[in-house]
């Protein structure tokens, strides 16, 4: 379903009459300047707080501070999602957020879901500073459905004082020696890294036979796993308390564990880490389009990007944003031009048979 551009969106008959009354009245009183002013007023007359459906941790003000400078005191209201499916479930049960953040592999599916509409790039000046490849990844049918912001990796976090990997490989996530000390992520992407480990050509689009092998691998190794996490905070608590030593994790977890003075390393498997780009998407028919665009513009600023990199250890699409610490530069491979390309990393992409992957992952959990 094609969405509507904010500036092009069709108005209902009632809206048209209201707008005509406002602009017509203004035209009589003050001419063309007043017409433009009235139209701006109409657009700016957005009620209520901006509703954002986002991942926990992204409600921190420093990540969208310029928005508050533009709209002082109007803190957005955040609702949290644990993954894209969870977001979709919330949308389908009536939640109507203005802004949602799926990751790049879901952009086309979310665009076609009927819950979203494209952004108006003219209302996001900072878009010009964003990585062009990432901006392009947010496009669908010639329109900008996703604004790229955060990016990072799915790889392996482990305790260097407790764990000695046999190889720089995904196999550390099912190393018999560390039974009960391993945590996986509760997501269908577990079948994807299993596919890379098994050497398949297209782990995002495995054949039935390949999927069966990936599933069997996960089923057979599940006994080694202490838990699968869906809350990053829970996983970090488990890691910090010593309950787990090895985890499927994000760069922010490495930063958090280092801050707790734990001896940790973030391993990029030789089979390639998975990588992702967060995409802000605009809710269809949002009553607050100006606020939503201002929010996306704030997230896209170099200042927000640098804060994200310095504090969470994630990359940011703004090419002017740079982390202060060389540790972070190394962790994010910012000086490695090939770091975000194949075969070093496999960017999250559309999984054509995602429902099947999901069912197979649920079966792994239930087995």
């Amino acid at each position: 379903m094609e969405g509507q551009d904010v500036t092009e969106r069709r108005l209902s008959r009632e809206d048209l009459l209201k707008l005509a009354a406002v602009t017509g009245g203004a035209a009589i009183v003050g001419g063309r300047a007043a017409v433009a002013g009235a139209a701006r007023t109409q657009l700016a007359k957005e009620s209520g707080r901006l509703q954002v459906l986002d991942w926990a941790g992204y409600e921190v003000k420093s990540l969208w501070a310029p928005y508050l400078q533009k709209y002082p005191g109007q803190n957005p209201k955040f609702t949290f999602m644990t993954n894209e499916a969870n977001a979709l479930a919330k949308l389908s049960t009536g939640l109507k957020p203005d802004v949602v953040r799926p990751y790049v592999g879901y952009v086309t599916e979310f665009a076609g879901s009927g819950y979203f509409q494209p952004w108006n790039p003219a209302l996001i000046p900072n878009l010009k500073q964003l990585n062009p490849a990432m901006v392009k990844a947010g496009q669908y049918k010639g329109k900008q459905w996703g604004i790229p912001e955060d990016w990072g990796f799915d790889a392996i976090l482990y305790r260097t004082d407790k764990v000695t990997p046999r190889a720089r490989s995904w196999s550390l996530l099912f190393d018999d020696r560390y039974k009960g000390r391993i945590a996986w992520f509760d997501d269908l992407n577990q079948l994807v890294w299993a596919g890379y480990y098994l050497g398949f050509k297209k782990p995002y689009d495995q054949s039935d036979a390949e999927l069966k092998r990936s599933q069997n691998l996960l089923k057979s190794k599940k006994k080694l796993v202490r838990t699968w996490w869906s809350s990053e905070t829970d996983m970090q608590n488990l890691f910090a308390s010593g309950d787990i030593w090895i985890a499927f994790a994000w760069p922010a977890d490495w930063v958090a564990m280092k801050a707790k003075k734990l001896k940790v390393a973030y391993m990029y498997p030789k089979e390639g880490a998975l990588s992702w780009v967060g995409m802000l998407m605009l809710g269809k028919g949002t009553p607050r389009p100006q606020h939503a665009h201002a929010f996306a513009n704030a997230w896209s600023s170099a200042k927000s990007g640098s804060w994200l990199e310095n504090n969470y250890g994630y990359g940011h699409s703004n090419t002017h944003a740079h982390p202060a610490s060389q540790d972070l530069v190394r962790a994010l491979k910012l000086k490695d031009p090939g770091a975000l390309s194949e075969p070093h990393t496999h960017i999250d992409r559309r999984v054509p048979r995602r429902a099947l992957y999901a069912r197979l992952w649920e079966e792994v959990k239930a087995s």
């Binding site: 479930a89 049960t93 979310f110 006994k223 010593g242 309950d243 649920e362 959990k365």
Partner: protein
Amino acid sequence: MIRRHLTTIGLLAPPLGWLFAFFVVPVGIVAAYSIDVLHGPSLFGGSHKVTLAAWHAFFHSSVYLGLFWKSVKMSLIVSAVVVGLAYPVAYYLALSGTKRKYVLLLLLIAPFLTSYLLRVLAWKVILGNQGVLNSFLVWAGLRSADHPLSQLLYSRFAVMLVLAYVWIPFVALPIFVSLESFDRRLLEAAADLGASRWGAFLRVTLPLSLPGVMAAFLFVFIPTVGEFVTPSLVGGTSGYMYGNQISDLFSAGFPDWQTGSVLALFLLAVVAVLTGAFARLLQVRQAAG
């Protein structure tokens, strides 16, 4: 006569209306999801014709039925253990003649004054690798700090332990009520006829308290077989239960409301059948008695 009928209807209408609106209708909606008359969130569209495919897949899936059987076993163990533990407590409170029985009963249910979530989370503090139990074991020299008893948390054991803890007061109450309400003169009669205390217990007290025991057993079994909060907090991979799968199919995982509805209805049906069977059994016993 008509007035009496109207009074009866007037009294029955609100609860029946409530039951219809908040039980029959929701179950009907879930049933509609299970055959795809209604459909949940989907990124892929689809034909959404009426289909029994999800039911067929469920009954041919060793995974879902296996998980259900695992949950039933865990719930049966929890229910049996809890009834076994609660019975002596309820017996003491009801039959010892202590004047403080209601104070003691209040103490028994005191944990209910705190939130369910807090009570479950407290066990994470007790059972974790650096928790109270493991710290004690390390302090006592029974385990090394590098090799704590990690099976205590994120395991089936942890789930069953926490569920037992949570449900003990629920179990003790119906047993207490059934024990307190039975005629003590029957015990005196048994003694007069030469029965030992143990014999009187086996032949008089236990049979007469069985309705309470059965009710208590069901009080635990029904909610725990579909439990998902406790296993998601302390269960890890091995403590994952049927209720978790239903929850994940609806929200946490990828939306598959059709399969989720099938799992939910199957659980409802099994629990209904078991409840009916227990009720029938009790009626037969009472009639025979």
